[in-house]
Amino acid sequence: MATSWTPDRPIVQCVDVRKSFGALEVLKGISLSVRKGEVICIIGPSGSGKSTLIRCINALQPITSGSIQIEGIEVSDPRLDKLALRRKVGMVFQQYNLFPHKTALQNVMMAPIHVLGQKRAEVEVRARALLAKVRLAGKEDTYPGELSGGQQQRVAIARSLAMRPDIMLFDEVTAALDPETVKEVLVTIRELAEDGMTCILVTHEMNFAREVADHVYFTDRGVIVEHGPPETLFTAAKDERTQRFLSQVL
């Protein structure tokens, strides 16, 4: 099922994705596609289904109908090899969700050792390099509880990158941060994007979206209202809902 994918096809392809929680339909037919190396931002009011969508992309939540393909792997396939999927897709959460009983370095090293069975010495070299990359050299032996929110979030990014994913999902990763630490996390994400990582971000940082995104999707009440390159969407939105949302947040 995963063999037919080639890099010229979208790396993420969602077709008419629907998701209901009981009687409440949160996603009402979402279609989008992301090419390798692209950075896309999903924006929209709270409760519009943005987070649910990216949680569906790495199968943290099952979809009700439709199709999501990651490098040709069908996420809604009941025989889905979740491990294979999650090796390709990294995810960073709003609340960092670091493992509090492990140091920063251990947090980054754990999954490659436990999940991929890689050698500790090799993983450690890579983990140290990743922590340096997110500007946390010197914090290797610090526990999450001793780090600021922004530092924790960068450890979380390094932890995801240690699995060498093809795609990174960011779920409102700056929403829980102090304003002064938001920037350091955004800088890290921007560098990732510049390195050619495929990124899908759910964000409320409109300026950031405008700056780094190749494509911006505006969602409202479970549908994609409108999408386009940021320069078009942010300055010449066609839909009245998009215009109203942008006028409130910009």
């Binding site: 969700n97 670091l98 009983h101 509880g145």
Partner: protein, 247 residues
Amino acid sequence: MQAIGDWFQQLYETTGLNFSVFYDAYDWGRYFSGLNMTLLLSVTTILLSLVIGAIGALLQGSPSMLLRLPVNAFVVLFRNTPPLVQLFFFYFGLGTMLPAVEAAGMRVPLLSNVQWAIISLSLFAGAFNVEIFRSGIEAVPRTTLEAAEALGYTRLKAYIHIVLPLAIRVCLPALNNNLVNLLKTTTLAYAIAVPETLYAVKQIWSESQNVFEMMVVLLATYGILVGVLVWLMHRWERAMNIPGYAR
């Protein structure tokens, strides 16, 4: 050592307080082997009950009804019945139904009374540990588990590397209590003639006619044993303390 023996001998001669275990080599030998048996029972049942608790709690959180049901039944059964009755059930009930085996030319039961005591007490304390671990597991944030899932952890691996280490920290005080209780409950093995401390001391006082003195020794012995266990548990608690992690 000789001085201690002399002092207790002197005490007996002057006051009539007969702490025979401290000057009589034979009584001391019986007491000491009883103490060893108590330590053997305590250490093995504590370790086994922790394993039972950890496995039980993992199965109890399983999505499969088929796994959850037996664990719940086990917990209810062992929590709702007296430990002495359980011990009798295993030793006199199940023990007599098992086939005997040939050992050194003699027919002996498949499992000895010591082995039955270990099995019975481990299951009894294990049932409580299941519930204690469960309370700890429920305190681990769902989002922490989700992060593990997103990194490709299977349920079992996440349980071993993330959930259990965090859960143990939360439930240590409750676990502490249960293990202290378990250590004291090992005296029940007396009832199936396991020569542990209570059994040995009872033998000594029947022969040396020093019930009161041996009672004092017995109480002091358990007081000290539990003290050591609590001290070890607190050290463990401190060793597991995570800098900057407030619950």
